[in-house]
Symmetry: C2
Subunit: 697 residues, 2 copies
């Protein structure tokens, strides 16, 4: 895939310029100076030669076929250039020129036209409005970025061209190799998902790093990212989520689920590592590109000073990893080979006058210790410190089986050492905390890789009945499903709901109450009244025929006064749900990623503490249980201070059945079961109330 | 203060060495090459001259008096060197030599001896086991660190010598100036608090940065840091707190209050800015040293690319600051002076081909906008970007009234620009996120500076009565105060406690119940039974004489069976507290910082959600209210979903009275009021239960 884009033999540059500083000049210059072994064909009607290459008036004049065309002509001339490229047999086109969708309607229309041209010819296009593409392993710098990176394992997908130049400049300063760099621009044709897929199959790419402002298709992204993540790490910095989530939504699930939550849930599902910042992104990238995966989270720390060792130990613990307890063999081996003043615990302190040999000894012992999964090597520039030599000794001691990361703290004197580390493929960080954080992302990925196979259980349900209920609502244009119908629907999916029935007068209400058994709840049913309980439309715990009769009459009286126009369908009389722990479970359909399930403890835990978890549907039994476990209030469900545990499996089962329901019926856009009442193990849980919204088209 | 240490005229180096690489050589070399204008006196019996200076056999042979003596002889010779120094009139001594307290008992004894020598002579000592001291404004490098920083506004106090060398090396790479660098070593005499105080009065020091592993005296630290913070920023990285807080404690307050919480509370009180990591420490230091304080938290962002602008906007919002809405004058001024494609909102996008002039225009307009409190300037190295020229233009546009920070993203090409920024006193950061975080610490400090004056209210209380109760307990060796006595004590401090009395038989219990009024609670009182309620020793809501009588007899029967040896003092009968919201308030005496007050909502909020706040006593009314406001569950107190607010002032008043009580009686080591029952405004809150522990000596 994308062979002609990333491994072309012949590259035409339409809009090649003789003026240094112009984009059309920079592209040709970069192709020539980047070491491209293929043929570069500059197209410019006013030049004979450019940078030693023969120039052509147009592609027709060139006469031969090209693999890749890079277009850097003014906006108005792009369409013709695309046509010429297609005619010349180009399989891929990079449109660097800006002035399309990003400037308004006319630009968007023009962009559509050129995409159509490409689609009809089965030609793929990058851009428009992009920096271009780089493939260091092919010597290809088809961009106007000044710097060509050396070959390396990190590939970049970026929705910001400027960020590409910043990364290239940073890589140049740190002598760090990159594989591919793909500036996606306006994503008119090829987008981040296409590139993710291509890089997943690219052997030169060890880790994929993406900077994204938007995602073209959430579903597709999750699917592709999940399959790519199984092969290699994908690290994403997603920006622009801070002001999101302000959507008006009628359900709890909707108001708690913002875009940021959805990205979190989607990335978790897909195994995508989410970077918190630009530095975090590149820190993770280097660790993945350069080091093997750890088997666990037990970290050994080697240092030539106490302070940085403590900083690293604090960071390891604060990040939820473990400061390894070294095996007894290690301690004696260290004692035998290090000076007596050295500390042979963990952190291993090789002392301020440590020579390279001492670091090598400690690193070898740490790597061989079966109690150690990963190593952080720290160095401060003291009087007797040789940073470059020490870095070489460390590099020579790398066994390649466990990840090793380094923090050489300082600036001027340690820089030669840091450069040695980079060239030895050992990721170096400016502080112990960042080195620890880099290890942490390796551990996180390993945890994701170790997850059990995802098996979605399907429960036997009465899908036909649910279909009938939903169909009736859609036909009659009732997109808010009332409690009675909602409960029927849930019953079809094997939820327990209290027995109950609609009553149309007080006598009937009493009759139903006798049938279901006291105490009962009574709730007004009207499509016109949203917040029933605010207007006396809900009465709970009615224990006698008199109370039922009084409640019915009062309800009619008061609702009639407050809402003289409301159409009343009747009063729903149902047996009170048994007491138990109230939880809330729901679903909100994210515009990007589809059905997001929510779970939380009811009442204040949701409303005040916002203690809820999200997961993309469909979910497995294990994921449902994780949704419970990841709330802060989980201990309350498991039982604290003598209280019994509630039936956790019943809750997890409920979440899975919601998952099945909303997967079966994409027309359900929002669903809240609030509360879902759950008791001790063995007692059937009960849906006490439900709200549901259907899509209007 | 410390004049002779930091501004000496004559410095002797005892243990001066002719061997390059040795500490005693490095110190003399650093003094000579650092540009010290005073006299350097190397002491070495085997050398005639050293680095062009005459050497002396000993200080007596030198014959004149010295201000500062730096000692770098072997451990065994240090004592004699200290004696010689004192004899030669030294007012300050720096002992670089190691091998004292840090290696064991003999070392500690020797360390004590030399401290005593110094104390008797009123001479101050730094170290032993330290790197030395540097005062760049005096040209003084009395350390064995290779690098002498240029003069600047940042002063460093460090408990790790290696971290000093790392900071010096980093400063050298970034051409960054420092004022003083003080390596505290073993802190045998002068410690971090002395240095904090001295730097507080030092005009060359604009910001104090400290790396601390321990604090010598918590009380003293808070007092000094608070007074220094009023004058200049103090930023501290405190390490080694991750495994702390495992202390066995019988109270809730104790088990929730770890050392880390205590440091947090102490730093908050003192206005100390707490760094989260080494980079955070130096990032904050540069912002404080170089920029004025902001008046608010509204941030303008100037960028030459969209992506980094969004990253900065995300970071600003996530840190709780505001992306400023520019004034309408600004927008029109920007529109008039920037190209039409530029974005004149915020972020202000000066476009990828921005020249230095455009940055200058945008920066001037942003600084002049009254809706803007601070500015972040971002740059990515694009085709037309001139980093150094742009940095100079930015520097020339600085108006000095609002803080401006920069992030020039990249490495090789942007470095000349970053160097220009540093020399123009403009803090630069490698990413938008770190630039935003640096502004955030400025905002935090300004908030602290703006806090209202701290006025501790004193409530009229019956202190004599409390004294009597405590005195009786101490005399009889009862260090656990039982509920009955605890309530009497709290009543003396004007807490409301339910009326009640001790009963010694069932008749008496009934009589008391009639007097206080039903329903009542009954609780066994015995010094031998800790968890009364686990053994049927607590009965609540007894509503009739029969219930009281039954409860008394059953209690006696069961406790007699379970604890045949227990001494029973009787049964406490009290009126049930009225219903209300249960909160918990308490105090735990931190070994470092003294009385730490705790507040949280009762029950699961404390036990499961750990939703509690801490504050050092004594507290003001405002601080007490902050303790409430800073819990996650605060909304529950203020009233949510139609529930009435509870009497917040009653809770704040309770916290202040506990503050007064534990300040009046330092012998109280732990105190838990759990629950404190608080109702609507106007209803007196009630202490339902209390536990208290007194110090055993």
């Amino acid at each position: 895939m994308l062979q002609s884009l990333l491994y072309p033999d012949t590259v035409a540059v339409i809009g090649a310029s003789g003026t240094p500083g112009k984009v059309g000049h920079a592209v040709v210059e970069n192709l020539v100076e980047g070491g491209f072994k293929g043929r570069v064909v500059p197209i410019n009607p006013r030049l004979e030669r450019l940078l030693g290459l023969p120039c052509h008036e147009n592609l027709a004049a060139f006469g031969e076929s090209v693999d890749l065309a890079v277009i850097a002509v003014p906006t108005a001339a792009v369409k013709a250039a695309v046509k010429d490229s297609i005619k010349a047999g180009a399989r891929s086109i990079v449109v660097i020129t800006a002035g399309f969708k990003e400037v308004g309607h006319a630009g968007a229309a023009l962009e559509d036209e050129i995409v159509q041209l490409c689609h009809r010819a089965h030609v793929r296009m990058v851009g428009p409005n992009c920096l271009g593409v780089i493939n260091s392993h092919h010597g290809l710098n088809a961009s106007f970025a000044a710097q060509m990176p050396s070959p390396g394992g990190i590939s970049i997908i970026s929705q910001s061209g400027a960020l590409c130049t910043a990364i290239l400049d940073w890589a140049a300063a740190r002598h760090l190799g990159l594989a591919k760099l793909l500036s996606v621009g306006n994503k008119a044709d090829l987008n981040e998902i296409d590139f993710l897929e291509a890089l997943g199959d690219d052997d030169d790419t060890k880790v994929i790093v993406a900077y994204l402002e938007s995602i073209t298709s959430g579903d597709e992204f999750v699917k592709v990212a999940q399959s790519v993540s199984a092969k290699k790490p994908v690290v994403v910095l997603k920006v622009g989520t801070s002001r999101a989530g302000e959507r008006a939504a009628s359900s709890h699930t909707g108001s708690l689920a913002g875009a940021d939550m959805a990205y979190g849930a989607a990335f978790r599902r897909a195994g995508v590592i989410r970077a918190e910042s630009f530095e975090d992104l590149m820190d993770a990238a280097r660790a993945f590109a350069m080091q093997p995966m750890p088997r666990g989270n037990r970290v050994a720390i080697i240092t030539n000073a106490g302070g940085p060792g403590i900083m690293a130990a604090d960071a390891v613990e604060n990040l939820g990893m473990t400061v390894a307890v070294l095996g007894s063999n290690s301690a004696s081996a260290l004692r035998a080979r290090l000076p007596s003043a050295a500390s042979v615990g963990n952190p291993i302190d090789v002392l301020g006058d440590a020579n390279p040999e001492r670091y090598a000894v400690a690193l070898n012992i740490a790597q061989e210790d079966s109690q150690v999964d990963a190593v952080i090597v720290l160095l401060t520039p003291q009087a007797m410190t040789w940073p470059a030599e020490t870095a070489r000794a460390i590099a020579a001691s790398m066994q390649g089986k466990k990840p090793v990361v380094a923090a050489f703290m300082g600036g001027k004197d340690v820089m030669p050492g840091r450069d040695e580390l980079v060239s030895a493929n050992l990721p170096d960080y400016p502080s112990p905390e960042r080195a620890a954080r880099a290890l942490k992302v390796l551990v996180e990925r390993q945890t994701w890789l170790n997850r059990p196979p995802r098996v979605i259980s399907r429960f036997p349900v009465n899908r036909r009945r649910a279909e009938r209920i939903i169909g009736r609502h859609l036909r009659t244009g009732r997109f808010q499903v009332n409690e009675v119908d909602g409960k029927s629907l849930l019953r079809a999916y094997n939820f327990n709901v209290p027995s109950g029935q609609m009553a149309y007068d007080a006598d009937e209400a009493v009759e139903i109450a006798f049938r279901t058994g006291f105490p009962v709840a009574m709730k007004i049913v009207s499509p016109d009244i949203m917040h029933k309980s605010d207007f006396g439309g809900v009465r709970l715990g009615l224990a006698s025929p008199e109370q039922v009769r009084d409640a019915f009459d009062l309800m009619m009286l008061r609702i009639g006064r407050a809402f003289p126009q409301a159409s009343l369908e009747g009063v729903y009389v149902e047996r009170m749900a048994p007491p138990g722990r109230e939880v809330i479970m729901g679903m909100n359909r994210d515009p990007q990623f589809g059905p997001m399930l929510m779970f939380g403890l009811g009442g204040i835990f949701v409303e005040v503490m916002k203690d809820v978890t999200f997961h993309l549907a469909p979910i497995t039994a294990g994921e449902a249980m994780q949704m419970l476990e990841q709330t802060r209030s989980y201990a309350l469900l498991r039982g604290v201070r003598g209280q019994a545990a509630v039936d956790l499996d019943a809750i997890a089962g409920g979440l899975q059945r919601i998952s099945q329901l909303v997967t079966d019926f994409p027309v359900i856009t929002e669903l809240d079961i609030n509360p879902f009442i759950v008791g001790d193990v063995g007692h059937a849980p009960m849906v006490a109330d439900v709200r549901m919204t259907l899509a209007e088209k």
